[in-house]
Symmetry: C2
Subunit: 488 residues, 2 copies
């Protein structure tokens, strides 16, 4: 099975697709740009969702659900917003099919008075709803999140990273003051950072986007950026300070303590199934997926090895005793007791699927009160005593989690450069890739020129002030270095 | 707040809408037929989803996610299926908007080659996918479930009970043999029965639908039916034995152990946010929602009562000690310490929201080491000693769960009639409503006549054989009584 995966070195792009396939995470569907998320991919997304959802709830948010369809007129109410999304909208225009010879056709008589847009994001429908929820300062803040599917018509898609339909969460909050909304925006950015680093073991840098990379309708877009193994950046999450833009567009005001009617302040923030792409390209290798234990749907798999029915019974009993012990400790474990596949096949399958630890037990292990323990990330294999095994495994899972993060962080450091001249910049971007810190004069023109010359974009402006300097392109003053990279 | 709810006696329909509003479960959205599920409604759905999901996983199912859009040509592949859904399809025909003076319009140049249907159900896209997953008997069974939104264009909608878009789960399984698929269909019907009765405290009757009420594309549709407080039936869940219909339509075959290529057997089964409507109309009253403790997002709310800051501190400390103790025991509890609302307002709000138990604590309770404990379902209020309170509350929650079920079951029995003549049938349906058992000759003509005469439909044919008799309409032989009711 492992041979089916193209090596990273040979073709990183193909390697990625091979891993997605061999780990049975997802596949293309007949609807161009849409994907089927297979059970392994969905179990992973469910674990990510559960961890994030708990963090959202711990910070006072509740879930709600808003309609899939947005009236066309809503989208146009916020000028920048509609400009940003108009070109990628799936539009519902009819409500019926009718039978014709040999099939069905759209019934022209079912044409809608107003077309409906399949939500590309939900600011408009949500702010239209909030108008009814908000009268007084007592109704604020509103801290709501939604787990949903959204559709953005994309021509060039890539499983998880860019698909026409994807799953995500979108938080939409309403506040009485600018300060509160800004604090919320930053708080959720921190939540994303914590999730990325502590659960995904994927180091990220926090920052703010330039005007040209801002979310359509936002005043500021904050982001976390991660660096993939091939030296390209991935925007892993965004948190938008929306100012009063949507409150203005949808006329959402509240009566403040002072009796005055004021426009409400807004934020929105989201991460999506795209994170699964980031996870793959942070840890995986030529044998397939590598998963951090905190998110792995199965953390430990036990493969029993036997040649006779008698051996089978004894070995399975041994395996079950290990299973019971670890299950009791809260470890996500399974025994792969399929009879129609041999151990070699199972090993390759579990390797491709990224299960962090594999325990193999055969008749000899039983005799010696041992097991063979294999680590997916480092490929170490050891004979371990059955005695105290569960506690060692618990510790090992925590160690793997930490080591994956450390390794990813070291790789990122190795692939991060600081440059002062544009020549150097172009050379580094072309030859080495990775993150490149450089001075920029703050203009959209220079940003655009760099992008055209090198395909590198400004991933973020750091949140903390840095050392002043001169723009590498124009020589004009620069307040601090900003982070460049080619990106997904 | 409670006055805002119309009494059940006065207008059951309006009462239902008032409860949904006052419990803050959901509201209509500007897109006709779509609803916004508010945080209280979503928290309830999440609890239902979690319990069901665990039951699905315990019976060997995994979750996956399939595309929202289905190519029009897929729908037409199974003749009955397309006939059933053609008249309620949201159709996507374009992929872009373009700016025009004063707004945006659909860009005619973005017209799709093939229209896409927003899934009304996913059999077709899933069976198209299964063709790629199934080659050999080793690949079977496939036991997959999906949590998703679906759209069926409905003209007459009602929050939760019938909405254009709704949330649901749809299980889709593939099997090597007819027997196995039939067993799966029945197993999932049992899962639904268990969920309805043990979690929702809503008694249901299991049975099979008549041909005219069958799911479009199914060989048999099994169902659970519940009886609402107003004497109308609610179909609460369905489990379909699909035979080989979808395997034929999508050419899904497997090589069996005997080397032969055979068509795969299928089932599908689903429940939706409609269950929330059923929950409301099973237990709630003129004060608002009544929730069974197993599903209540908040099981116990503590309302602190005080007149001074000094009292406030002491009372809150007392409240927190109760909170900590119950939280530790796994009870879903919260302290309502909002300063901007008075206790009376809070009581009415918690009552409307259906929180099973309310604890009020004031300075005098503190002195006497007491609390005031109020039960939502029976409206009993008692002074209870702080000593051993947590254990009594745990037991009380379990008792409430049981009593709600018993009460609902007794109500159903009172509203169930057995009739032998059509005159009696018409009188009972008209005057009393409820479930009516009667003999039927098994023909679609008689079924249709009864429906036209009385608006009552056959809810189900029972799974066990009953006593033979004669059709109440035609006098022809009948194998057993079947269950009639007017329904939602």
């Amino acid at each position: 099975m492992a041979q089916k995966i193209t090596s990273q070195e040979k073709d990183y792009s193909q390697w990625y697709l091979d891993v997605v396939r061999e780990a049975k995470l997802a596949e293309h569907s007949p609807v161009r740009g849409s994907m089927v998320i297979r059970p392994n991919g969905m179990a992973l997304w469910e674990n990510m969702r559960e961890a994030l959802d708990q963090m959202f709830k711990d910070t006072g948010h509740e879930n709600a659900y808003f309609p899939l369809f947005i009236p066309k007129s809503f989208l146009s109410k916020e000028a920048q917003h509609v400009e940003g999304f108009a070109k990628e909208c799936a539009v519902v225009t009819h409500s019926r099919l009718k039978s014709v010879d040999g099939g069905v056709e759209v019934d022209p008589e079912s044409k809608l008075e107003e077309e409906l847009i399949v939500r590309p994001t939900s600011e408009t429908i949500i702010w239209d709803t909030y108008r009814g929820w908000i009268q007084s300062y007592r109704d604020l803040p509103i801290l709501v999140n939604q787990w949903a599917n959204v559709v953005r018509w994309e021509m060039r898609t890539r499983l998880f990273l860019r698909t026409m339909e994807f799953l995500w969460q979108e938080g939409h909050t309403a506040h009485a003051t600018k300060e509160e909304a800004e604090a919320e925006t930053r708080q959720m950015l921190d939540v994303y950072e914590t999730f990325a680093e502590e659960f995904m073991a994927m180091p990220v840098i926090k920052g703010v986007k330039t005007a040209s990379e801002r979310f359509a309708g936002a005043v500021e877009t904050y982001c976390i950026e991660a660096l993939m193994q091939d030296g390209k950046a991935l925007q892993a999450g965004t948190s938008h300070f929306l100012g009063q833009n949507f409150a203005k567009a949808f006329d959402v005001k509240f009566q403040d303590k002072d009796g005055e009617h004021k426009l409400v302040w807004a934020t929105s923030w989201g991460v999506s199934t795209r994170l699964i792409g980031g996870l793959i390209m942070t840890h995986s290798d030529d044998q397939g997926l590598v998963l951090p234990p905190k998110l792995a749907p199965t953390q430990v798999v036990i493969v029993p090895i036997y040649r006779s029915d008698e051996q089978r019974e004894a070995v399975l009993e041994y395996a079950d005793s290990i299973y019971d012990e670890l299950k009791e400790l809260g470890v996500r474990i399974k025994v792969d007791d399929r009879d129609n596949q041999n151990p070699g096949y199972k090993f390759a399958e579990h390797e491709a699927a990224g299960i962090p630890l594999r325990i193999a037990v055969g008749p000899r292990d039983l005799e010696n009160n041992n097991v063979e323990l294999a680590r997916r990330d480092t490929k170490e294999k050891n004979i371990e005593s059955r005695e105290g095994l569960s506690e060692r495994i618990q510790k090992l899972l925590a160690d793997i989690q930490d080591e994956l993060f450390t390794k990813a962080k070291e790789r990122r450091e190795e692939m991060t450069s600081h440059v002062d001249s544009y020549d150097e910049f172009r050379k580094v971007i072309e030859d080495k890739g990775g993150f490149v810190w450089a001075h920029w004069d703050g203009t959209a023109e220079t940003e655009e020129k760099i992008k055209e010359d090198t395909k590198a974009t400004i991933r973020l402006i750091p949140l903390e002030d840095g050392e002043e300097g001169k723009c590498m392109v124009t020589g004009k003053p620069s307040k601090q270095k900003v982070l460049f990279a080619r990106s997904y």
